[in-house]
């Protein structure tokens, strides 16, 4: 039988896509940058902070006190002492490369331009900008990924059900999508944020809830296509229930445009988050976020170029790398462009 050739082709699909993707140098750079950003976000305490990575104090060895919260450190009577603590004989401290906390204020060092101690300068409360940007990566990355994750889950679920069942379900979903896209999403987000407490969880949820219609549409369209395929009929003929047909058989084949859309979606969510923080509806103040640094710099915009430039560059690089990766993914998945 000639079916044998086709499944092997399908199984190779990720490899084909990867081979195509590798040819696209800008996209590779994009993916690389995304990975670097994700690592920075994950390893923020090891890159910037005023708590040592490891230290020996009073004859005791402390490993990774930097990943413990300040409160715990204070409870052990550690934090209050050791940030000004100079190691004596038989003692040592190994600081992160950027030895400043994103939150520690140093009023003698206010608004210092980039110098040897503070590579990217300090803000109006003497906090190190580089450290704040590094910790801000955490906020941006987590908001980007989780918000898009929420949008993808809702979008896939509604889109798949609408595409598979059609009829009333389809009609309802389409109407819901139409209503949703009528309200300009940024308007919707700041309106909802006005009613909720500004917290990172709320931001993720709200951005996620505004992002699903595009994905739902994509999935619905793909489902309509996949439903017509013979393997769908075969799955149904072998007596599988609808749930299994949808999520195990049809959906995996409908996912590739969703990946592309989600990659761009992360860039969009990061932009929205920084825009929100910039307007002051974002992550509440002491927490470092790129948009929040830009907001602070608004009062010193006429001279403090380092406060404007660097967080903006951080946002820009992140958005560019997600867009590059998305572009590359789209081209790699598009069979028409394949040589």
């Amino acid at each position: 039988m000639n079916i044998a050739t086709q499944p092997s082709d399908v199984r190779k699909h990720p490899n084909v896509v990867w081979r195509q993707f590798k040819k696209n140098k800008p996209a590779l750079v994009g993916v690389l940058l995304v990975v670097v950003m994700a690592l920075i976000a994950l390893l923020a305490p090891f890159i910037a902070g005023d708590v040592p990575i490891a230290m020996r104090k009073d004859g005791r060895l402390y490993l990774f006190p930097n990943i413990v919260t300040y409160a715990t450190l204070q409870a052990e009577n550690l934090y209050r002492n050791f940030d000004r603590w100079e190691p004596g004989p038989d003692e040592f401290r190994w600081d992160p490369p950027v030895p400043y906390s994103p939150l520690r204020q140093d009023l003698r060092e206010r608004l210092s331009p980039p110098c040897r101690e503070h590579w990217l300068g300090t803000d109006d409360r003497g906090r190190d900008v580089l450290s704040r940007i590094i910790w801000g990566t955490r906020i941006s990355m987590s908001v980007g990924f989780i918000a898009v994750g929420i949008a993808v889950v809702i979008g896939i679920f509604l889109g798949a059900l609408a595409g598979f069942y059609g009829g009333v379900m389809d009609m309802l979903t389409l109407r819901l999508i139409e209503i949703w896209i009528c309200v300009p999403s940024f308007f919707l987000v700041i309106t909802v944020m006005a009613f909720l407490d500004p917290s990172i969880i709320n931001i993720m949820v709200v951005i996620g809830l505004t992002g699903w219609p595009g994905i739902a549409r994509l999935v619905r369209g793909e489902m309509l296509k996949q439903k017509q395929q013979e393997y769908s009929l075969a799955a149904r003929a072998s007596g599988l229930n609808d749930w299994r047909i949808i999520f195990r058989h049809l959906l995996p084949n409908a996912l590739s445009p969703v990946f592309v859309s989600a990659t761009f979606g992360v860039a969009g969510a990061i932009l929205t988050e920084s825009g929100l923080s910039f307007l002051g509806f974002g992550v509440p103040p002491p927490t470092a976020s790129w948009g929040e640094i830009l907001k602070q710099s608004q009062s010193f915009v006429d001279f403090a170029w380092w406060l404007v430039a660097f967080p903006g560059i951080a946002i820009f690089i992140t958005v560019v790398s997600f867009n590059l990766a998305g572009d590359g993914l789209r081209d790699a998945l598009d069979p028409r462009l394949r040589q």
Partner: protein, 311 residues
């Protein structure tokens, strides 16, 4: 029907929020309870929620959003002052986007692979990825006074002395004030549309019927403008529908940064002061604008693509 559904969606939950807010106040300060009861009666908040909702809906159909909680002026009056400003900005911006992006996209698509095409693509990509508020701040920093160049005003719509100017210089003054905000509003959409125009055009140029047209010996100009153009326009006409909400959302940030008294800044202030009637009015009007944009893009779609007929 869509509008009706939208209206149903938009005010439903915020009214509940409004009630929550009121109750929070009451617990906080028992002495002002009487005042709060009066306020509630004033806004009709003492009635059960479905009744409130019906009342709200009725008023909404007459575009009566009640009074702003901050200065007691009717919401529609405030929006009426702000709307023309934002509309002017957005319409000029959309106009600029289309008038620039179409030639840029066509140029890129007809010279694929050349140095100019790739540098255009890179520039557009960079523009597309820059956050508007960052660009706005950089422009203010470098072109709007401060320690660097002082070319453009960064505040409001006209100079303080505008009243005493002649009509012509007042128009010039207004335009001069609009340069920076307009740039910020425009460049993102511009980059997006040029990219789509290029992609769409390249797509159409690969089609068989273009080869056929070339084989017939039509001049390159005829092939391009008569056969390719129309089909590649379809893609970017549909984008009008998504461009408009982005612009309206973007004007919140831009108008706040440049202190332009438009819908965006009004919305920002409304949200800051939790001015619920004003927020609801804003969201409804913004949604109606988007709806109008979607309708327009559907109509244009029919105009561009003769295969689609109005049903």
């Amino acid at each position: 029907m869509l509008t009706f559904a939208l209206i149903q969606l938009a005010p439903g939950s915020p009214i509940a929020y409004k009630l929550q807010g009121m109750e929070g106040d009451m617990q906080a300060d028992a002495a002002t309870r009487d005042i709060i009861e009066q306020t509630k009666a004033l806004y009709g908040l003492d009635k059960p929620i479905p009744v409130q909702y019906a009342l709200w809906l009725g008023r909404l159909l007459r575009f009566d959003f009640g009074n702003s909680m901050k200065d007691q002026r009717p919401v529609m009056e405030k929006i009426g002052e702000a709307l023309p400003v934002t509309l002017m900005f957005n319409l000029i911006s959309i106009f600029l986007v289309y008038i620039i992006s179409i030639p840029v996209g066509v140029y890129s698509a007809t010279h694929p692979g050349t140095k100019r095409d790739s540098s255009l693509t890179i520039i557009l990509f960079i523009l597309y990825s820059m956050p508007t508020f960052w660009v706005a701040m950089l422009l203010i920093l470098f072109l709007g006074g401060g320690e660097y160049l002082d070319w453009f005003p960064i505040h409001g719509l006209q100079s303080g002395t505008a009243e005493s100017m002649s009509l012509l210089s007042r128009i010039a003054d207004r335009l001069w004030h609009m340069v920076l905000p307009l740039f910020c509003l425009t460049y993102g959409g511009l980059a997006l549309l040029s990219r789509y125009m290029r992609a769409g055009m390249l797509d159409v140029l690969r089609q068989d019927y273009i080869r056929t047209a070339r084989a017939y010996g039509f001049s390159e100009r005829t092939v391009l403008w008569k056969y390719t153009m129309r089909n590649s326009l379809i893609a970017i006409v549909t984008l009008l529908g998504s461009l408009l909400p982005a612009l309206i959302g973007g004007s919140i940030i831009i108008e706040t940064i440049f202190s332009i008294p438009g819908m965006g800044r009004l919305a920002f202030e409304a949200v800051l002061s939790r001015d619920y009637p004003l927020i609801m009015g804003e969201v409804t009007i913004a949604s109606l604008l988007t709806l109008a944009g979607l309708l327009l893009s559907d109509l244009l779609y029919v105009a561009v693509d003769p295969r689609i007929k109005l049903g």
